[in-house]
């Protein structure tokens, strides 16, 4: 049961073989049993979870089941929720309780989902290993000496260890896909503008996008189809976004006629050899399923990380100005004056990585430096989008490794921000271009999961879902689960 997909649990609920309360209880028990080993959840309110499940069972008796009726979903601590704290895993939001639900949370509730709790994450989603969380790091269920990836590390570990069948994450530079890859899950970053950002605590507004982390491609499609849709309360949410039947898109069983681009910039020296071998083996399998592999180039890839680490901190530096100790959040004791209140409250409230990015962003936007940094980075961003546009004139979809390395040891890179930033080298360009991308498991390196990333043109998640479903159907990587938590490797 704990490692079953949402789709399977849904079938059992529909068949009356189990109830939402039984399902919720099973996962609550597992959280009670394993969360101390993983630190995946930072807030759990079992009574509230069971109350939601009971309400769902009652609803099912009276009405047709809603799309996510009774299905447990965990939520990254970056989504504002009316019940309980929303802290973005930062001390600056130590006592914060949002008086509103994020738009996505409202969608989930309306679809009958049971919200399981808040998952751990890098502070303000700034990190690639979940080690910047104010609530401590998260352990990778496949090897608890290793990090689960970040910033949605708590969501990844919770799903991978079977503490919830699915979770929500957010992806600014790879924060869904990289942890999904490092824990053997499916994770999708939808096209920018597909999912409302309202009520999701902003990191970098032009890059942030919420998405699901699940065990199967179909689960990802099912969850995304509930999350999406225009929201008049988010001006960057696109009103007339092209849409399709998300579950039907997962019926693909072969790849006949599909042209898959293999960009040379994503298969490079210095990446983990086994990761490369696994991803190349996956592409061979795709050929066997009928796809044509086309060597392509995305020539500006090497500048993506640099551009990202100017743009994202620039936006973050002003997005985080509202944490000023005036209206909510942490305030230092006995401030001498206004200046002292600002300085000490923010110094005490923010962790080192968040401060580093605020300083970087403030510098990049400063008068005299703006043109050299922010404006230049925006130009690079345009070139990167252009690269993808040209590539998609030749191919239908692009396949790459999600991460150059499998999960690394906790503490291994914390002293070296540049090396840490390179963890996202294969995921960042997608955010800069606003494209949809999905990671799915495609093998193991040193007994740790390896992720295969699919990238499609804007609004063509259906192309991704078809390819990923065909690959998933032909392989069994998605059925593996960590033995230590009762799974089958």
């Amino acid at each position: 049961m704990p490692f079953r997909s949402l789709t399977d649990i849904q079938a059992q609920l529909h068949a009356g073989e189990t109830t939402a309360v039984q399902v919720a209880q099973l996962y609550l028990d597992r959280i009670a049993q394993y969360n101390d080993d993983l630190n995946a959840f930072v807030h759990i309110d079992p009574e509230n979870v069971l109350a939601q499940a009971e309400a769902s069972d009652a609803y099912r008796k009276e009405h047709d089941a809603r799309p996510l009726e009774g299905l447990p979903i965990a939520v990254k601590d970056i989504f504002c929720t009316q019940n309980g704290p929303t802290r973005c895993c930062s001390n600056i939001l130590e006592d914060f309780e949002a008086p509103y639900d994020a738009h996505v949370i409202t969608r989930l509730k309306e679809a009958g989902a049971v919200l399981v709790g808040k998952t751990n994450m890098d502070e303000f989603a700034m990190g690639s290993s979940n080690e910047t969380s104010a609530f401590g790091g998260v352990q990778n269920p496949w090897n608890t000496d290793c990090i689960p990836g970040g910033s949605s590390g708590g969501s990844a570990a919770a799903v991978a260890a079977g503490l919830t069948p699915a979770a929500l994450g957010t992806d600014t530079g790879g924060s869904i896909r990289q942890p999904a890859a490092l824990t053997g899950l499916v994770g999708l970053k939808p096209t920018y503008g597909r999912v409302s950002r309202r009520g999701i605590i902003a990191f970098a507004s032009s890059l942030d996008q919420a998405g699901p982390m699940t065990r199967t491609v179909k689960d990802t499609a099912m969850l995304t189809s509930v999350m999406i849709g225009h929201d008049a309360g988010d001006a960057t949410s696109v009103a007339d976004a092209p849409n399709f039947d998300w579950l039907k898109a997962c019926e693909g069983r072969d790849m006949k006629g599909l042209k898959i681009g293999k960009p040379k910039e994503y298969f490079i020296d210095g990446m983990d050899k086994e990761v490369r071998a696994q991803v190349e083996a996956a592409l061979t399998q795709c050929e066997a399923l009928g796809a044509e592999i086309v060597d392509i180039s995305l020539p500006h890839t090497e500048y993506a990380v640099a551009a990202y680490y100017v743009i994202a901190p620039s936006e973050a530096s002003t997005n985080l100005s509202r944490y000023d100790a005036v209206r909510f959040g942490h305030r230092c004791d006995n401030p001498e004056d206004l200046e002292d209140m600002y300085a000490r409250s923010r110094d005490e409230g923010f962790g080192a990585e968040v401060k580093r990015r605020i300083l970087t962003g403030t510098f990049a936007l400063s008068s005299g430096y703006y043109d050299a940094y922010y404006l230049k980075a925006q130009k690079v961003r345009t070139l990167i989008s252009q690269d993808f546009k040209e590539a998609f004139e030749q191919v239908d979809i692009i396949a790459t490794p999600t991460s150059p390395v499998p999960a690394f040891k906790s503490g291994e890179k914390t002293d070296d921000p540049i090396t840490m930033y390179l963890s996202d080298i294969f995921t960042i360009a997608v955010n800069l271009a606003g494209l949809p991308a999905l990671s799915q498991p495609c093998g193991f390196s040193q007994d740790l999961p390896v992720g295969l990333q699919w990238i499609a043109p804007a609004w063509q998640e259906d192309t991704i879902l078809a390819a990923a479903s065909a690959y998933e159907n032909a392989t069994d990587w998605h059925t593996k689960s960590p033995v230590k938590f009762g799974g089958e490797a």
């Binding site: 504002c80 929303t86 973005c88 939001l93 914060f96 949002a98 008086p99 509103y100 994020a102 950002r197 309202r198 009520g199 999701i200 605590i201 902003a202 970098a204 507004s205 032009s206 008049a232 309360g233 988010d234 001006a235 960057t236 620039s314 936006e315 530096s317 002003t318 100005s321 509202r322 000023d324 005036v326 209206r327 909510f328 206004l338 600002y342 403030t362 936007l365 400063s366 008068s367 703006y370 922010y374």
Partner: protein, 475 residues
């Protein structure tokens, strides 16, 4: 030495929308502190701005009224600074590409009309209000104003005196009122002005400017500019240098003081607001806004002069506000025979009385039609102009119509020759001595007889007839 003054003005004008610029909160003035706020204008985590279209449309209308270009694509930027009444830590504004660029306003000067350039109008949101007075060791913040839409109207440095600056501001204020895009109530801070002032020798390059911040009365603005000009000239003539700085006008002490030097100025770190896509409008939308534009003060003034034969002065008085101009046009429509007389009665008689009552034309107790019927009674000789003034008082006090008052008070003018002759004879009989003197050549006694007859008639005799009959009867 001959000094030239150079002035540029920045006007912050509250756009009168029902709801705030980026959220649904009310913009009503004077509510309980912080009662008109929501997670968006409180800057809470995850909250996003959505532009109020009405604010954009009103800014476009203002741009069209000052002959400016409308940018079909404009952009929002963040202006970053920390202050407790700025909840997000940044103000959403337009920096790189404002919605309106390049207009002008014509002002009257003694050398004829002068054209003053308007650089740009951009939209932005207001901050809240900090309150320090009467509080010990704490400040209070009211965020009702946070997120109220403003337009900032930036002029070219085209003004050469405080009087020109005031003429520009009054003209702009009037246009804005006519357009109905702002209450522009200066006491409520809905129309506030920063003035950039410098002095130079005629023909020399621009001098160092100082900025006088946040003034909300024409009188203070004039005083502040004049003070600043003298201050700068004195510094330079004493061999000193003007420092670039922001200054605050103290209207109690009638002087300004330094607020912030150039070195202390903020680096606002402007950059494109990622939460808002560029604001796009179509030429068709702009044309539709233009089609709905009311007649502007300048156009009205010129039309009143040509169509109704008014003097420039009267035309100016009657176009001060849209409601006054409309009132005048309604009056002329009901009494078309004499537009000039309409202007006199409205401007001198009615407005004078309203002023004593501390009322606006829109609060007048009598309608334009009622005043027209009074003028009709003068025209048809029912009453004299002098009696009409008393009738007007009675109409305003009682709200009764003109004929009822004339009947009630027996004010109907006497135009009957027999009755007038009888009154004249009575006066002449009673003043034999003056009659003799008049006949002996003292012509100016004629006025005395007119006065005596009018007095005898209690003002009701038709003055023209009295004149005519007197001449005849005195031979």
């Amino acid at each position: 030495m001959s000094w030239e003054v150079v002035i540029g003005l920045e006007v912050h004008c509250q756009i009168n929308t029902k709801t705030k610029a980026f959220c649904g909160c009310s913009t009503e003035f004077g509510a309980e502190p912080n009662s008109q706020t929501c997670p968006v204008c409180l800057g809470m985590p995850g909250q996003l701005p959505v532009l109020n279209d009405v604010a954009a449309k009103k800014t476009i209308l203002t741009g069209l009224a000052i002959n400016a270009d409308i940018n079909l694509e404009s952009k929002f930027d963040r202006k970053n600074y920390f202050y407790p009444d700025l909840p997000k830590g940044y103000q959403i504004s337009q920096f790189a590409v404002p919605i309106v660029e390049g207009g002008y306003i014509d002002i009257p000067t003694k050398d004829g009309e002068k054209r003053l350039g308007v650089t740009r109008i951009h939209m932005e949101e207001d901050a809240g209000k900090s309150m320090h007075e009467g509080l010990d060791a704490v400040s209070h913040i009211d965020l009702n104003r946070s997120g109220i839409p403003l337009m900032e109207i930036v002029s070219e440095p085209d003004m050469r005196s405080a009087d020109e600056a005031i003429a520009y501001l009054k003209q702009l204020h009037q246009i804005i009122k006519f357009l109905g895009v702002s209450g522009a109530d200066m006491e409520k801070g809905q129309f506030r002005c920063d003035a950039n002032v410098s002095v130079r020798q005629k023909g020399a390059p621009l001098g160092t400017r100082t900025e006088m911040k946040n003034m909300n009365s024409f009188r203070f603005i004039k005083q502040a500019i004049e003070f600043e000009v003298l201050r700068q000239i004195e510094i330079i003539e004493d061999g000193g240098e003007v420092k670039q700085e922001s200054r605050l006008w103290d209207s109690v002490k009638n002087e300004s003081r330094s607020m912030r030097s150039k070195e202390e100025a903020h680096d606002y770190r402007y950059f494109p607001e990622p939460d808002l896509p560029p604001l796009r409008v179509t030429q068709e939308e702009v044309d539709a806004i233009k089609a709905g534009m009311p007649e502007l003060p300048n156009q009205l003034r010129k039309r009143f002069e040509t169509e109704f034969g008014l003097s420039a002065y009267d035309a100016d008085v009657l176009t001060q506000t849209q409601s006054l101009a409309q009132w005048y046009e309604a009056l002329v429509a009901s009494h078309p025979a004499n537009p000039k007389q309409c202007a006199n009665w409205l401007a001198n008689e009615l407005l004078g009385r309203l002023k004593e009552l501390n009322k606006d034309i829109s609060e007048s107790p009598i309608s334009a039609q009622a005043l027209a019927s009074l003028l009709d009674r003068i025209a048809d000789n029912t009453i004299s102009g002098k009696i009409a003034k008393d009738v007007l008082d009675a109409m305003m006090a009682s709200g009764k119509n003109v004929d009822a008052i004339i009947d009630e008070k027996g004010l109907k003018q006497v135009s009957d020759t027999g009755a007038i002759d009888a009154m004249i004879q009575e006066v002449l009989d009673a003043n034999q001595g003056q009659v003799e003197a008049y006949k002996g050549g003292q012509d100016r006694l004629f006025g005395f007889f007119v006065g005596q007859v009018m007095k005898a008639s209690k003002g009701k005799a038709n003055p023209a007839m009295v004149n005519q009959r007197l001449k005849e009867l005195l031979g």
